[in-house]
């Protein structure tokens, strides 16, 4: 069995498999699920090529990827064909399929920390497929394990094999998952959001590793991701999915340079770019949960929709870029693209200092190092400040200290002329009102048992006690209208709303208190790009109107640039660099900032 592998490796140009998806359709029969979740997906994975499958959450991209290798969850009906060198994976007996999985076909899921068995040493997990599919034992097995770990860049492989998953960082866990996927020299590799949730620098390194492996081993790769910029840099071909259908597919460079489908155009414009701080405004509405077969699924949200778009279901047509596009007006619109806008900055950032943070340090008990170490900055009234850093850099902890959720271990903070030296509970109510915090995940920051009205009523009751019941109700309706939610939302519970709608409720709650300082903690990282811009725009508009200063915390440097006047870059609890936004990008002073900027996938670099 070992010989097989050697031949593959020495042969240099192994044949490589090609996987052809033909009219893959997935249905989930059951109440409330009329349409298919994936409709007539036809794609080809070529050896040595990476095919990107892009789309927002719920568009069916993961379902497609799983259906492609013949994996189906209970209750799923999959039709069509998925052919690997003459073999239809969908028609195979479960036994035969299992002989292919982990062998000729490998799959890597989004979260390696969940995919790896936490109670088993990684070496044993790597040995399982090698034993089963290759029959490796003893020294040959050990040698192959070390080879694989070296290939994916795990330092000191001998020792690493004996460790448990939790002893590795998130990026290393994903490398280990990749090593397991690659251990039997697969022909087909399916990656389902493999770097989502990892830091940009880690993401860049794993992407480079993947590209190298696909080229060298002639593997046909399907890379599923919501991140168009990432796919633009990594893939050879790109397919964009919307509501279970491929709306556009073609060579990546050509699609990025001249997208034909309005959805692709908008998605591209919505991705923050480092060469342009402007964003295309978000699009209203949410994608349909299943495929729409009687008209164009995107028509209700499409700014270019004509009458025909609402009555005719467009068929895939050849596009100028050499791929296909599913849009009736693709040719008419070939030169049209959505215009990016800058976020309104109504007032000149004042001279009056609003917040002073001076040599602040936060060291949690039992933590090996301080979460925040000697951080100092000033914020002017009405200024928009971005704080950027990778996970664990202490950026969120700064917000927690300012809002009074934790006390700094050392240091001095002042807001206006009030010293911030107590927890929120002990602070004057007026101070709590004027500093408002919006959280990353609106699923968690809105009490699931409270109606939207109850949620919005709370700041009014606490901070605007002088208002009567009728005035409060009027204010709630006014702010709902301001964040473009219908008044009927007031009686709904949070779980009835989409993620973007929930985040708008959270923003409305913050602004009902009429804050002077708004703290935004990764407010868009749980949202799809199509609503990300809308939410940022809303924060920008409301802040500009009320003159509130904003601190925007994010791991995404390009995103922060769209709003912030000034940016602070953090690493390991310390400030690495602090500069005006444009200056930071034009002339980054520290090596770390340069590394961060270099790691951001670029759009339109082609």
């Amino acid at each position: 069995m070992l010989r097989d592998h050697d031949e593959l490796a020495i042969g240099g140009e192994p044949a490589g498999g090609r996987l052809e998806l033909r009219d893959i359709t997935v249905r989930h029969p059951g109440p409330g699920r009329d349409g298919p979740t994936v409709w007539n997906v036809t794609l080809t994975l070529e050896p040595g090529r990476i095919l990107g499958l892009a789309g927002e959450s719920g568009c069916g991209k993961s379902t497609t990827a799983k259906a492609a290798i013949g994996f189906r969850r209970g209750g799923e009906e999959v039709s069509g064909a998925s052919v690997l060198s003459g073999l239809d994976l969908l028609g195979l007996a479960p036994d035969a399929r299992r002989r292919l999985w982990g062998n000729r076909i490998s799959y890597v899921s989004q979260s390696a920390s969940l995919a790896l068995n936490p109670s088993m040493r990684v070496g044993r997990q790597l040995a399982q497929p090698l034993r089963r599919h290759r029959g490796l034992k003893g020294a040959a097995l050990a040698q192959r394990q070390v080879e694989l770990f070296e290939m994916v860049g795990i330092p000191n492989p001998q020792a690493a094999l004996k460790r448990y998953p939790f002893q590795f960082s998130g990026g290393q866990q994903q490398r280990i998952a990749l090593a397991i996927a690659l251990c039997c020299d697969p022909e087909i590799l399916i990656l389902d959001e493999p770097t989502t949730g990892l830091d940009v620098t880690t993401q860049a390194r794993i992407s480079a590793l993947l590209r190298d492996i696909a080229d060298r081993m002639r593997i046909a790769v399907l890379y599923v991701s919501h991140d168009l910029a990432l796919l633009a840099n990594l893939t050879d071909r790109l397919a964009v999915m919307y509501a279970g259908e491929i709306v556009e597919e073609g060579p990546t460079r050509a699609v990025i340079a001249a997208p034909r489908h309005p959805y692709t155009k908008i998605l591209l414009g919505l991705s923050p770019r480092i060469d342009d701080p402007r964003l295309v405004p978000g699009i209203p509405g949410i994608p349909p949960p299943t495929a729409v077969l009687d008209h164009c699924a995107f028509a209700p949200r499409c700014p270019y929709a004509a009458d025909a778009c609402h009555t005719v279901h467009p068929a895939p047509a050849a596009a100028a870029h050499g791929g296909v596009v599913r849009c009736l007006r693709a040719d008419e619109l070939s030169t049209v693209s959505p215009e990016p806008v800058a976020f309104a900055h109504a007032r000149d950032a004042g001279t009056e200092t609003l917040l002073i943070v001076d040599q602040v340090r936060l060291h949690y008990r039992n933590a090996p190092r301080p979460s925040v170490d000697d951080v100092s900055f000033k914020l002017a009234a009405g200024e928009w400040l971005g704080i950027v850093g990778e996970s664990g850099s202490g950026k969120s902890s700064i917000l927690k200290m300012i809002s009074g959720l934790v006390l700094p271990t050392e240091g001095y903070m002042r807001f206006g002329n009030i010293r911030l030296d107590s927890l929120a509970l002990a602070r004057p109510r007026e101070l709590c009102r004027t500093i408002q915090l919006v959280f990353q995940n609106p699923d968690a920051s809105l009490n699931p048992r409270h109606s939207i009205r109850q949620i919005l009523m709370r700041p009014l009751v606490l901070f605007r006690g002088e208002l009567g019941a009728r005035e409060r109700e009027a204010m709630i309706l006014a702010i709902l209208d301001r964040v473009r939610l219908p008044a009927s939302v007031a009686d709904r519970m949070p779980h009835h709303l989409s993620g973007g709608q929930r985040q708008r409720v959270a923003i409305a709650r913050a602004f009902l208190a009429r804050p002077q300082l708004l703290l935004c903690d990764e407010v868009t990282s749980a949202l799809d790009v199509s609503v990300q811009a809308t939410v940022l725009q809303m924060i920008a508009d409301l802040s500009a109107e009320t003159g509130a200063a904003v601190i925007l915390v994010s791991h995404d440097l390009a995103l922060v640039r769209t709003m912030a006047d000034r940016i602070i870059v953090m690493k390991d609890g310390m400030v690495v660099e602090q500069a005006a936004s444009d200056a930071l990008f034009a002339d980054p002073q520290s090596a770390y900032t340069r590394e961060l900027i270099a790691a951001i996938p670029r759009l339109g670099a082609a």
């Binding site: 295309v280 949410i286 215009e339 927890l423 929120a424 602070r427 473009r484 009835h496």
Partner: protein, 298 residues
Amino acid sequence: MSIAVLQQPGEAPGEAPGPGRPALWRGLMAAPDGRVGVGLTVAMLLLIVFGPLAAPYSPTAINLAPANQPPSFEHLLGADHLGRDVFSRFLWGGRSILAIPLMAVILTYATAGLLSLVATYRGGAVDLVVCRFFELMMSLPALLKILLLVAAFGPTTGVLIVAIAITNMPGASRVVRGAVLGEIRADYVQAAQARGEATLSVVVREILPNVLGPVAADFALRITWGIIALSTLSFLGLGVQPPEADWGLMIQESRSSLQKAPLITILPAMAIAALSIGLNLASDALVRHVTSQGNGRR
């Protein structure tokens, strides 16, 4: 060309909502065991509440003439060794067996439940003391605790309620503590803290509604245990005292004549079983519904 998409009104919110409480009911009735549980419980509750109205005789009236009588038209289930009508005793006998455990569990949650809610939220030394206290209580066997209390203060209704409540306290405290710990780091709690909400407001307004699900399920389960504990006590002669009509007591009094008159023993035993099983199935379904909902929420 630019697009003015932002100006459009907000989209319609998601799927049509089901109001909060009926959703709990639907979840309970979704599975077959939930339906059986609710059915059994409701049937037994009807029997216990309205049964006494249909009783033909007083449950405690002694009439030696028909003593040890087999079933007849006058005495549908016959009469016991003191000539009391078995059918009437059966219809009356569920009251104490439901009321005492119910009161006991209410008492448990009103004391240990609330204490743990606040102590867990406050954390630190308060939490530590409360935790150790209940762990200490847990180290004594339940039956021993009840027997000690009943032996010391006599088998009155009040003592029985307190005794059963005390045996339930450590467990209830753990359920509340676990549920609160699951919510305490949630962003909505932090949001409330950052607003400067008072501690009581955070506990009652924010956390309490989110721990009610697991508490409700545990509540129903504890009533079942209470019923079994009380029946055990009555059987041992330490629970409900003669001449009260009580299912546990009826079993104890009649078991010597099990071969001659099996119905007097079997009927109350089956009633206890039906009530316990019904409550158990219903609370199981409730637990399942609450946990699955919890997963969907986050």
